[in-house]
Homo-oligomer: 333 residues x 2
């Protein structure tokens, strides 16, 4: 578990897109974001106060989170000097980068010297059990997609926010690096060893109050041949009571797989539900989340209405409309 609140390191980000991790933290857990730290040449701005390391420490920040993608897969000398100073000032560091903080000898030794933690959320931080399939108390909802990167994390975060606002008991359960940095904990499922995938999700979503919902971040797609096994481990480890289908209607081929077209929402519904019932016979598909970012308002409205009629389920774009109707669908279960 990563200590909060954070100082968000934007480094020398070339554009706003490069800081989407930091943006996610600021959007979804604003209380976790004390300030931003920008270096010379940084082209991104979250609209947070700019603070020095010392100012942020004074303001209560516990962890410097690398909220920016690095270029060329190396941690530059300019970054390094900031990270070392942060450790010396008593910050922990957290990163989702592929190159691990712990593999940098100077960072590792500064962390040891100062008694600080290096959180590399790219890889698991603990051993996971093999799944036992035992039915757990509490309820769980999982986002499943027609493809990778169609908005499953966004959907889950928006749903969790809407449920909290309605006074429902819910917890967003992160299964990817960005989600883990946003909330401070979770399972980096894509880096878990095959035998323990489903077990890691059982571990992430333990017994809970009967009226509590775990809102589980989805990964991959049953129809994405590179990552479908990860998706099925989520479905069987998560034992969901409810599924939400996620889709991006303008995408023509599967992400990274130019020879593969996207499945229909009906195909995802039928396939995911049949598999989910193996672990939870009462599972239901309760709603549809459509990422309409590449559509006009009018196109989006027409598409959502058509899908809602066709599938007989609430269909929303949580970015445009929030997660209220999806939360209502869960409350009605």
């Amino acid at each position: 578990m990563i200590e909060t609140p954070y100082l968000l390191f934007l480094g020398d980000a070339p554009d706003q897109l490069a800081v989407k991790v930091a943006q996610g933290i600021k959007d979804w857990r604003p209380d976790n974001a004390v300030a931003q730290f920008r270096m010379d040449g940084c082209k991104a701005d979250l609209g947070l106060a700019d603070m020095t390391l010392a100012e942020a420490k004074e303001a209560g920040a516990k962890t410097l989170v690398i909220g920016v993608a690095n270029r060329g897969g190396v941690i530059s000398a300019a970054w390094k000097s900031v990270l070392l100073e942060a450790l010396n000032l008593g910050f922990d560091l957290a990163s989702g980068l592929h190159n691990l903080l712990r593999d940098e000898a100077d960072l590792a030794s500064a962390a040891t010297k100062n008694g600080r933690s290096l959180h590399d959320v790219r890889i698991p931080s603990e051993p996971y059990p093999i799944a036992n399939g035992v039915k757990r108390s509490g309820k769980r909802v999982l986002a499943v997609g027609t493809d990778c990167s169609v908005g499953k994390m966004y959907t889950a975060l928006a749903l969790d926010a809407a449920m909290q606002k309605k006074g429902m008991k819910s917890t967003f359960r992160a299964t990817g690096q960005t989600g883990i940095l946003i909330t401070g904990e979770g399972v980096p499922l894509d880096a878990v060893v095959a035998d323990f995938m489903a077990g890691s999700i059982e571990h992430l979503t333990p017994d809970n109050d009967d009226d509590h919902w775990d809102v589980i971040e989805g990964q991959g797609s049953l129809f994405h041949v590179s990552f479908s096994g990860v998706t099925l481990a989520l479905i069987h480890g998560g034992q969901p009571d409810a599924l939400i289908l996620c889709h991006e209607p303008t995408r023509e081929t599967m992400r990274g797989l130019p020879d593969y077209t996207l499945p229909s929402l009906e195909a995802v519904r039928d396939t995911a539900l049949a598999l989910a019932k193996v672990a939870n016979a009462g599972c239901k598909v309760v709603g549809i989340s459509i990422n309409t970012q590449h559509m006009s308002e009018a196109e989006a409205e027409a598409y959502l209405a058509e899908v809602e009629t066709r599938l007989g389920l609430p269909a929303v774009d949580p970015f445009r409309q929030g997660g209220d109707r999806l939360a209502d669908a869960l409350a009605a279960l």
Copy 2:
């Protein structure tokens, strides 16, 4: 790749069941098995010549394979002295044990000193790519099961043997520790990191002659909640042209999951085929392999006849009947 042929180390096996890895090597790759090495108190016997390390070396053995399960998860002092002597005599060592040979300091240093290899097939020996889903030349058949441990490896090995005998081009592709030790190579899929599971199977079953069959060893089951993700990665990474359904009819609950009953063969057929068609639209279910070890001859015959009629596919027990009819079904495709 493990150098063959082998000397099979049976250690101080308490019974015949403890040496099932060695038995598999002797049964399926007899040319790989030069001799057996038994210690005092060994209760197992493969019917091979007993040789000392020096005799086996003289007879051409290249690798000492640990063909016996160890008790209590430790490599005993008695075993250790044999393994060290083997390294000093110029043997490589190969093991599928959970505790790795490379983690034993004395074995690691003896291997280095003698320029020998320690093959721990429990874990991957190379990095794997992320699956790209590109259609490969050649044909592939995959065994899928109603449950774990219903005879998928046996089925694949028997099918491969029958195909070889008929002059068909085939290669058994191991995806588990025992299969890897039998053939000397393969992917230990249960130990592969989630993101690379399907890619490891693409890597294992590359482009080949149009009339060549990869006979892929199955793992887990789509209906086994602990390991279903591994199974789906096999289906999508393997791009099978043909599936063979495997079942053990007397089993009442899923292996290790007392709350779960087994799916019907029809459910496995429909679920596996629909998912397989995502990666290979032409995939067909071509036969059924039934493990009738807990049935009498008469019961087995009646059951096989009933399944054959019910599913309209050849149904055989390859242990009783060999893999001929399954090979014929592939040849007819």
